[in-house]
Each structure stands twice: as structure tokens, then as C-alpha cells.
């Protein structure tokens, strides 16, 4: 075989190998998406099929965050979870701490400096919150003797009622 013939044969082989590799990559990627995804515990956003709760734990404390049907959640860590309203217009990031000072934690999270915190109650715990000047975000905490669940909510004021009901369902236990 001539030099040109051998070069041509090598070129065809390389091409075939590259094509096979590309197909395998796509196939594996697809398989990973549809088969492996359900096996992953973290960093996967999914919608609740029915009313449920998401548990978060930290340093001996645990909390449950209610998740109504069709709401989205993504557990970003053992002690943190982010939830979204079904339309995606409201996003709330929750984080649990067994040792945090609720006031200090919310003050640090508050969108504006020097803002005075509102103090209220949920059915089972205390509630602190502060709204940003633009009204589009709220930082706060639901807390009792067992722990502090801080939250940062992003969404316009028309989601306040939805946020309030979400916070009302947060339960903190030992």
C-alpha cells in the first residue's frame, strides 16, 4: 500500500473512532439524565407530587419545611433547602442552625443596613423578618429554643401570602 493509501486508511479509522465516541457520550449523558438522576440526593430540583415536607438537620436540631403539591424544592445541603412556588415567581432559601442567634443571623442577612426587624409569631414559633427597600426580597428567621431556620425570600409583594403560609408550616424540633 502506498503512503497515501496508508494515510487515507488511518484518517478513516480516526473518523470512525471519533463518531463512535461522540455517540457514546450522548448515549451515556442521556442515560445519566433519565436513569441516574433519581439516584442523586442533592442539587436536584424537583416538584412535589403531593403535599409533603422537606427535612433539614444541623447539629442535633432538625426542622421540616412544608412543601405543597407542585412546589419545587432543591436540597442544597443537609441543613439547607431552597423552594420555589409552582410558577417560579417566589424562591425561598432556608438554612437551619442549632446555635445561631436569630437576631444576629437576620440582621446579617437583611438586605438593607440598619433595618428594624419585624417581630411576630407563627403557630409554633417566633418569626423575625425585614424587607428590602425595593420590596422584592425578605430576610428573616423562624426560631424557637431548638433552633433557628433563617430564610431569604425573593419575589414581589404579591407572594407575601404564599410566603406567610410557607413560614407558618416550618416546624423546628430537637
Amino acid at each position: 500500500m502506498s503512503k497515501r493509501g496508508r494515510a487515507s486508511r488511518r484518517s478513516r479509522g480516526t473518523t470512525a473512532a471519533l463518531i463512535v465516541i461522540a455517540v457514546v457520550v450522548v448515549a451515556l449523558g442521556t442515560a445519566a439524565l433519565f436513569i441516574a438522576t433519581p439516584l442523586l440526593q442533592h442539587n436536584v430540583r424537583e416538584a412535589a407530587a403531593s403535599d409533603t415536607t422537606v427535612d433539614i438537620v444541623a447539629d442535633g436540631a432538625q426542622a421540616s419545611v412544608p412543601l405543597a403539591s407542585r412546589w419545587w424544592s432543591e436540597q442544597t445541603g443537609a441543613s439547607s433547602v431552597t423552594v420555589w412556588s409552582p410558577d417560579g415567581g417566589l424562591m425561598v432559601e432556608f438554612a437551619l442552625s442549632a446555635t445561631a442567634d436569630a437576631y444576629a443571623a437576620v440582621t446579617e442577612l437583611a438586605p438593607d443596613d440598619g433595618v428594624e426587624l419585624a417581630r411576630e409569631q407563627t403557630p409554633t414559633a417566633n418569626l423575625l423578618h425585614a424587607r428590602a427597600g425595593d420590596g422584592e426580597s425578605i430576610a428573616g428567621a423562624v426560631y424557637n429554643e431548638q433552633g433557628v431556620v433563617t430564610f431569604v425570600a425573593q419575589g414581589p409583594p404579591q407572594y407575601d401570602a404564599a410566603l406567610a403560609h410557607l413560614l407558618a408550616g416550618v416546624e423546628i424540633g430537637p
Binding site: 465516541i21 449523558g29 442521556t30 430540583r45 409552582p86 410558577d87 419585624a118 407563627t122 406567610a164 403560609h165
Partner: protein, 515 residues
């Protein structure tokens, strides 16, 4: 690298990119854009500008009332709607509250007191200009605190009536308070009350109010507001009493300094102050209305004004206005119609103690006295001194007279006046009805000087006086118009014996209306 190899590399890169993008697209959440966030339950909205008061309404005839008491420091004008018992009683409540307010400021107890002769207190009822005038212009220029009440009709439609009372308190130094209360009435059901009575469940209205306020202040709590304490209920009742109903809304003023635990820790909440008053407006569909409230909001069409059966049937509150009972003995006579004309012209009532023999001669006059709303009492058949009669004779005198007067007038005859004033406890027991005497004896039967008769009859009575005159005396007939006009000018309400005692004269011998 050959062109083919470059093409393959590009193809592999493209496939890889497609795989990555496809994975990203496949992992992106499918948000439901048809989902809408829940809204807060319907509540009111906060209003920082005073709502316009309803405009005055002309063309309704009221029975004008007026008091002017310099000791306590209160002047008030209001008007009763003839025959509307519930409305008039509710108006009394508002006036009493204003009096109590002023008593609290002045420290001087209130008693209905007539003015001096020439006080011009016959000018009674509403002056609509006073409800829109500058508050300070209503107050006298003196250092002591005074309260002034002004009135106007603001609604008269179908069977619904509403009268606004404006209460201004202050002194020459300034206005302390300027509030309005509207009394609403449904004549079909004879129910009435302030704006607070338009709501079905005060406790539910409290919850709605607190909810509206805390949502306005950015609350994120869904814990229901606590039920109002009795003190809070009283505060909100007073606030609702001053509510304004118009254009499908009920606008309630928030009391100065109002706050509740649900609001105290919300930085965005600021209690109302005199410099920054606040109101809360409810859509009428968002509050539970009482039957009165529904009637008020549904009112339409011409006003079905109730008619009065006469001044003796009108509502009067003798614990608020100074009352005097004019009593006329020994008739009916040919002069009695003239007395009735005078009383009618001044919208005044009287009690006629009639003799049976006179009633027998003038039965039509007996009928007219009753038809024009005056009271008829028993003065015996032919004027004997009852203390000189036997028990049987006493009973005979009274019974045959009562039977005739009742038949001619259609009204119960349940008080008596002994001829000559001759009475004893024994006679009262036999008569078995109150013996109405007097404290002002005009002695008009003694042929007095007419001017002196007028001066004494107008100048001597006090609140609660019972005046004795005779509708058979020509001097009295000639002076009667001056007398009645003079009493009205002093601020008296001329009432029947029944009106003086709220429908139930005391038993025994009665000399004065304050017994």
C-alpha cells in the same frame, strides 16, 4: 489534519454541545405559569385622606330640639323624625354621650335647664351650615371648654333615614375634638343605630380591621388576631360609629393612638395622630352587614316620611331637654279650640283635665283634643271636692267621667286631677290612679292682669314644672299664645303628663315632673 478529520471533530463537538444543552434543558424545571399565588383574605385598605362626609339632604321635616346649658358648657341642636322611635332613641344616645363628654371636661353635672326669658331658644333643630363650618367658628371665644353639637339629614330614601351629628369640643384657644356620628334608621323594621350597627358581627369586624392594618404594615403572620377585649370593643365601636358609608365603601376613622399587639412590633406601623389621621376603607361586600346595614345600602326611591300623630305623641327626652307640662282644667269649652290652635302653631302639647258635664256638651272638641295628640285626664263629672265625698261617690264621679271621655277620645284616661286641689291619700287610694297636682298655680281664675299672668307663667317654671291653667278663662285664652311662645323661647318642650313621666306617671299625689 484533513478536511474530513476537521469535519468529524466539528461533528463530535457539536454532538457533545447538543448533549450538554439537551441535558440542561431536560433538567430545567417546568414552572406552571398558570399557577397564581394566593391573595390575603379580603380586607380593607388604609386611607390617609379624610373621606368626604355625605352631603346634606333637604326636604325632611324634623321636630327640632335644642339645649343650651352654660353651667355644663354644652349647646346642641338635633331633630327627631316623627314617629321613628328607634331613630330618635339612637339620636338621644349620641347627644347624651356628647353631654357626658362635656361633663367630663367641665366637671359640672348636667341637668336640663331652661334659659332666661328672651333666650330665643325657640329657634331649634338643624342648621346645616354648622356641620360644614370651620370647627373653631362654632365655639364661643372663652377660655372654658365647651361642646357644640350640630346636625343635618344626610340620607332619606325609601324607608331609610340618616342624621349626622357633628360634635365639636374646644375653647377660644382651639379645637380639642371634631367628630361626626351618623345615626341610621330603617323605618320598616324600626331599627336604628350608628354606623357601628351596620355591621353584623363586631368581633368579626375587629378581626377584619386588624388584618387590614397588619397586612398594610407588612405582616407575615397567619396567626388570627386575638378577639377584642371589652375595652377594645368599646374603642372600635366608637370608631365604627363615626364611619362614613358612600360609593360602596364603609370608611372607618382609626382612633388616635390606636394600636394592638399584632401591630406593635411591626416597624412599618404608625399609630394615627391628630396631625396624621388615618382611616380604613372596606368594600361593603367584604364585611358582614347587619339587616340595618343591608337596608341602608339598598335604600332607594322617594323617602316614605312617617307622620306624627301630634306633639303629644312625639318623642321627647325630658332628661335632656327642659320639659314643662301645661295642664288645662274645667273644659272643654267654647274657648278650647282656640287653645288647640295656639298649641298647634307652636308644636306644643298639653293635658286637658275635663269635666264630664263639659265633655257631654262639647263631644267634638274632646275628639279634636285627642286627634291633635294631646292628653285627656279626669277632672270628675261636675267638680265636687272629693275629700268631702264618700268612697262610692268618689268612684261614681270618676267612673262615669272616665267612661264618657274614653268613648269620645279613644284614649285611656288614667290620671285624675281633684277639683280645687282637694286631695288626700285616701282619695288617691279610692281613685286608684295618680292624682296630678301642680307647682305653678297661675290663679288665672282670679281675673289677673294679663301682662302679669304672662310674666309669671313664662318666668316661674323650671324644668319639670306642672302649670295649672283653665281653658274656660277668657284672660287665659287671650294670653295663651304669648305664654306658649314665651315658654318655647326659654327652651322648654311643652309636653303631656305622660311624656313628662316617660309614659308612666308615678302613683300617689304628683306635684312636679322631677318626682
Amino acid at each position: 489534519m484533513s478536511a474530513r478529520e476537521r469535519m468529524v471533530r466539528r461533528l463530535a463537538s457539536s454532538l457533545g454541545a447538543i448533549a450538554v444543552v439537551g441535558a440542561a434543558v431536560a433538567c430545567a424545571p417546568e414552572y406552571d405559569t398558570s399557577w397564581a399565588p394566593p391573595a390575603w383574605p379580603a380586607t380593607g385598605s388604609i386611607v390617609d385622606a379624610a373621606p368626604p362626609q355625605p352631603a346634606g339632604f333637604a326636604g325632611v321635616e324634623l321636630v327640632g330640639q335644642r339645649i343650651h346649658n352654660d353651667d355644663t358648657g354644652i349647646s346642641a341642636r338635633w331633630g327627631y323624625l316623627p314617629g321613628a322611635a328607634a331613630v330618635n332613641s339612637a339620636l338621644d344616645d349620641v347627644v347624651r354621650a356628647a353631654i357626658e363628654w362635656q361633663v367630663g371636661h367641665s366637671g359640672v353635672p348636667y341637668a336640663p335647664t331652661p334659659g332666661a326669658v328672651g333666650s330665643e331658644l325657640g329657634d331649634r333643630g338643624c342648621r346645616p351650615s354648622e356641620v360644614t363650618a370651620e370647627a373653631s367658628s362654632l365655639l364661643p371665644n372663652e377660655n372654658s371648654t365647651r361642646t357644640v353639637v350640630a346636625c343635618e339629614v344626610v340620607l332619606a330614601s325609601g324607608a331609610v333615614f340618616a342624621e349626622r351629628l357633628r360634635i365639636v369640643t374646644g375653647s377660644g384657644g382651639g379645637v380639642l375634638a371634631d367628630t361626626s356620628t351618623i345615626v341610621y334608621g330603617d323605618l320598616d323594621s324600626d331599627t336604628a343605630g350608628t354606623a357601628a350597627a351596620l355591621f353584623a358581627e363586631p368581633a368579626a369586624s375587629w378581626t377584619t380591621l386588624v388584618e387590614a392594618l397588619r397586612r398594610d404594615a407588612g405582616s407575615l403572620s397567619v396567626v388570627p388576631p386575638a378577639a377584642p377585649t371589652p375595652e377594645q370593643g368599646a374603642v372600635i365601636e366608637r370608631a365604627f360609629a363615626s364611619a362614613v358609608v358612600s360609593d360602596g365603601q364603609i370608611v372607618v376613622p382609626l382612633p388616635e393612638g390606636f394600636s394592638v399587639p399584632e401591630l406593635e412590633h411591626l416597624p412599618a406601623w404608625t399609630p394615627p395622630t391628630p396631625e396624621q389621621p388615618r382611616w380604613i376603607a372596606f368594600a361593603v361586600n367584604d364585611v358582614a352587614l347587619s339587616p340595618l346595614g343591608e337596608a341602608v345600602l339598598a335604600a332607594n326611591g322617594p323617602f316614605a316620611s312617617p307622620t306624627s300623630a301630634g306633639p303629644g305623641e312625639n318623642h321627647v327626652a325630658c332628661e335632656i331637654v327642659p320639659c314643662v307640662a301645661m295642664t288645662l282644667d274645667d273644659g272643654p269649652s267654647t274657648l278650647t279650640p282656640g287653645f288647640l290652635d295656639v298649641l298647634g302653631a307652636h308644636h306644643a302639647a298639653a293635658t286637658f283635665y275635663m269635666l264630664g258635664i263639659q265633655a257631654e256638651m262639647y263631644p267634638e272638641t274632646v275628639g279634636r283634643v285627642s286627634a291633635e295628640g294631646h292628653q285627656i285626664g279626669n277632672h270628675t263629672w261636675d267638680h265636687p271636692y272629693l275629700t268631702e265625698l264618700s268612697d262610692a261617690q268618689i268612684r261614681r264621679q270618676l267612673e262615669i267621667t272616665e267612661e264618657l271621655l274614653r268613648a269620645l277620645s279613644g284614649q285611656p284616661i288614667d290620671t285624675m286631677r281633684p277639683p280645687g286641689g282637694k286631695i288626700s291619700s285616701h282619695v288617691v287610694r279610692v281613685a286608684d290612679m295618680p292624682a296630678i297636682m301642680w307647682d305653678i298655680d297661675t290663679r288665672d281664675w282670679a281675673d289677673p292682669d294679663p301682662a302679669e299672668l304672662v310674666e309669671m307663667t313664662v318666668g316661674d317654671p323650671v324644668a319639670g314644672s306642672i302649670i295649672l291653667m283653665h281653658d274656660v278663662q277668657y284672660v287665659t285664652a287671650g294670653a295663651f299664645d304669648q305664654i306658649v311662645a314665651g315658654l318655647v323661647d326659654r327652651g322648654f318642650a311643652l309636653v303631656t303628663i305622660d311624656q313628662m313621666f316617660g309614659g308612666t306617671p308615678p302613683v300617689g299625689i304628683v306635684n312636679h315632673g322631677r318626682e
